[in-house]
């Protein structure tokens, strides 16, 4: 973290500091020019716990409008192009099973991939954690004498904070995906897996470009086409001169060593093709066994993510092709918590994720609070199961005070995410399982937790019809609490969380089982509430 001209901490990843600093008088309160932005210590754990962070983001009416609009558009697009595929469910079944197979055979498949990439002239590196991966990329860039690298949008490099690390080492990482560029120029954090700047509208983007791009046309309008053209002009020079590119990968084919990047703008092709050296950082779970398996995922991914029948560009490459593209290729295989996820029999399915972001787009919670409330580069439903597990070794699942341990509760379990997931990750079941793991960890820690005490009492009450019947009958005595309206409008904690915005009905005069006993049972057998 450094201090900006406005006195705010910001990320060290912005490539161009040639934009003039905004005039800020000394002594004025610091203020971010583009609204509140999160400033992570680590990309997988930042900010307040979800309930608190969500309370803040919910107050941002602009954010909610932007997100509401964007998610509605993308949901409709996805539904339309998925609806026209007659064998969609069969594709999902195949995709799910393929990923399950990858996990089961991961040691063998990783070695097979390594062998094939190496045989085709690539260099394979292994990274246990973020620091190791960052060090590897930095050393490669430095060996090439590069003080600037161009980047294809990649979740893996977001996750390890590569840009910040490179900046600290004096190497500028230039994000070339339009949304990543917007996020980077605003010193912001991504709030969506696919469209990192989904929380920004066109006017905000125009303002960011004008203030921060350096070479944006002064009469730039907020028409999306014009904004895209400004980005094209801004980045072209960098594409043509860059020596080193850094990418992620959507898929790695074990049996051939082929890697795939799925994209739209052509910035990916530029990075994968023009610089002499390409470094690809890929999570170890991104494998598919065979080349033919791409026929499944290249149908599932585009329709689920951008709602297109196919994304504009997909690049596949295998090691180094003499005379065509980079002459040097490095593949960094990243663990960074993935093996902890893999070790969980239920939670390991989170590694099946192909980063389409369909679950974010349909999630009613994400739609209201936005990505930043999740405090991780992986927001939304998939983030709520992936982030805690990726940080398990530092308390992400079981840590009593760890903010990530609150993520599995950031869901109503409505199931919309499971319905759209192209690889059928049962996110609601994994959320529940993670909740149980946290509760179990708390239980073994001892101490007094009001939730645990309440749940224990409820368990005793609700495991016997007689006890429960008597409790219900006792509750009817509170019928009068409802007053004239028959409702309770204020209550002490924790029920106050409910009554802040909702009424609670007063208990009825008579429980169901009291009525039943009166109506249906003869006096001789009316023993239901013994």
């Amino acid at each position: 973290m450094s201090r900006t001209f406005l006195g705010l901490p910001r990320r060290l990843s912005r490539p161009d500091d040639d934009a003039p600093p905004a005039a800020a008088g000394a002594g004025e309160p610091p203020e971010s020019p583009f609204g509140p932005v999160p400033h992570p210590q680590t990309p997988l754990r930042w900010g307040d716990a979800f309930p608190v962070a969500a309370r803040q983001t919910l107050q941002n009416a602009q954010l909610r409008r932007n997100l509401g609009h964007a998610t509605q558009v993308i949901r409709a697009k996805r539904a339309a192009v998925v609806g026209e595929v007659p064998d969609w469910e069969a594709l999902r079944d195949a995709g799910s099973a393929l990923k399950e197979r990858v996990m089961a055979e991961l040691p063998e498949l990783l070695q097979q991939l390594e062998e094939n990439v190496t045989a085709r002239g690539g260099v394979v590196h292994w990274a246990r954690d973020a620091a190791e991966a960052n060090r590897i990329v930095t050393e490669i860039a430095r060996a090439k004498g590069a003080d600037e690298v161009v980047k294809v949008k990649s979740m893996a490099t977001q996750e390890i904070g590569l840009n910040e690390h490179l900046a600290a080492e004096g190497i500028a990482a230039v994000e070339t995906d339009l949304a990543e560029l917007i996020v980077q120029l605003a010193d912001d954090m991504p709030s969506h897996i696919l469209v990192p700047a989904i929380h920004r509208n066109r006017t905000e983007i125009r303002d960011i470009f004008l203030a921060r791009m350096g070479d944006a046309p002064p009469d730039l309008s907020d028409v999306p086409r014009e904004l895209a053209m400004a980005a094209r002009a801004h980045l072209r020079r960098k594409f043509l001169s860059a020596k080193v590119a850094v990418s992620g990968a959507n898929f790695g084919v074990a049996s051939t060593g082929t890697l795939a990047v799925v994209e739209s703008e052509g910035n990916g092709r530029m990075c994968l093709t023009l610089p002499e050296t390409l470094v690809t950082v890929m999570g170890i779970e991104k494998l598919v066994p065979d080349f033919e398996d791409l026929e499944v995922f290249l149908q599932l991914l585009p329709r689920s993510s951008t709602g297109e029948r196919m994304n504009p560009y997909t690049s596949l490459w295998t090691g180094v092709t003499p005379g065509d593209g980079p002459s040097e290729f490095h593949l960094v295989l990243l663990d960074n918590g993935r093996t902890d996820v893999l070790a969980d029999e239920v939670g390991r399915a989170a590694l099946h994720c192909i980063r389409c972001s369909a679950c974010l787009n349909v999630c009613p919670v994400y739609e209201r609070v936005g990505g930043h409330a999740y405090g991780s580069v992986y927001p939304g439903p998939i983030g709520a199961i992936l982030t805690p597990q990726l940080t398990a070794s530092t308390g992400g699942v079981s840590g009593h005070d760890d903010v990530n341990a609150a993520l599995p509760y950031a869901s109503t379990l409505c199931g919309a995410c499971y319905d759209v997931c192209p690889v059928k990750i049962d996110i609601p079941s994994i959320l529940v399982d993670l909740r149980a793991r946290e509760v179990d960890a708390d239980r073994s820690r001892g101490g007094v937790d009001p939730w645990a005490a309440a749940m224990k009492a409820a368990s005793w009450l609700m495991s016997d019809g007689g006890r429960f019947g008597r409790a219900g009958r006792a509750a009817t005595l509170a019928h009068g609490l409802g007053g004239r309206d028959g409702v309770i409008s204020a209550a002490p904690p924790p029920v106050s969380a409910w009554t802040r915005s909702r009424d609670l009905p007063a208990p009825p005069r008579q429980t169901f089982r009291q009525w039943w006993a009166k109506e249906h049972e003869s006096p001789a057998d009316a023993g239901g509430e013994r």
């Binding site: 509760v439 409790a471 429980t511």
Partner: protein, 265 residues
């Protein structure tokens, strides 16, 4: 048929109108309803909040109470709730197995195989969509998440409602979006829950309906709590309460806070 009713803990103690209507409706259709008195709760709240160990005795009580259905003493178990039926079908056996109780898990699966949510029982098991109901009011239907996506009841509830005489059934905008209840979510993430509820109640009010109905009293408690706080003048009724309504024995429109306090709609 001999049908055992699982009233659900929340309806038994807070909303007895729903299971009462279920009884009236099934008896009117010529079936015998049994209420096993040992029942209390299916365990869903404990499971969904992560208290698996505490859920076990609750699940055991439910499974043992309804085990006779597996032996043929009753033909089916009906639950007037999508989420409780979902918990019986998708969670109870899992919780038993995790606790090492494989025998109980097997019984739970056998009971679950004969357990139906109300609209499933009516349409799939009893084969009726026109239950002879009469309800001359404007109604909008909220498909609760677990009915929709866990049980996949599809349009069964709507087919039942469309067959109700004189009903003015209006479509709810963004119907399939969650109301924000989510059990303890409403308390643990109260602000987010309230934001979701605000959108749901706005959609309900936009229909001009006098009643919003659903197959789950818990979601209706949430939506109704929001409508009541807003003095919206829109009441809530369980699907069973509309289907039980006849000319001879009509279900009254629920009193709303707006009515009672004299605030106009």
């Amino acid at each position: 048929m001999r049908i055992a009713l699982a009233a659900t803990c929340i309806a038994d103690t807070m909303f007895p109108g729903a299971p009462r209507a279920t009884v009236r409706l099934l008896e009117r259709l010529g079936h015998e309803v049994v209420f096993p008195p040992g029942q209390a709760c299916c365990g869903q709240m404990h499971v969904n909040t992560g208290y698996f160990a505490e859920a076990v005795p609750v699940v055991r009580n439910h499974v043992e109470t309804f085990a006779p259905v597996a032996d043929g003493e009753w033909d089916a178990v009906v639950i007037p709730s999508g989420s409780c039926t979902g918990s019986v079908r998708h969670q109870q056996a899992m919780v038993c197995r995790r606790a090492g109780l494989d025998g109980l898990a097997a019984t739970a699966e056998a009971v679950a195989a004969k357990t139906y949510e109300l609209s499933e029982l009516l349409v799939d098991v009893l084969g009726v969509t026109d239950v002879g109901a009469w309800f001359p009011h404007r109604v909008t239907y909220h498909p609760t998440c677990h009915s929709l996506r866990m049980l996949r009841v599809g349009d069964r509830p709507l087919r039942l409602l469309r067959a109700v005489e004189d009903i003015d059934l209006v479509e709810l905008p963004a119907a399939e979006s969650c109301c924000g209840f989510g059990g303890t979510f409403a308390l643990k993430n109260a602000d987010t829950s309230a934001a979701m509820l605000a959108d749901k109640t706005a959609h309900v009010r936009s229909t001009g309906a006098a009643v919003v109905t659903a197959g789950d009293m818990s979601c209706l408690m949430h939506i109704g709590g929001g409508l009541s706080r807003q003095r919206a003048g829109v009441g809530t009724l369980h699907l069973a309460e509309i289907l039980a309504s006849t000319r001879e024995e009509p279900t009254a429109l629920p009193a709303t806070r707006a009515d009672r306090t004299g605030v106009s709609r």
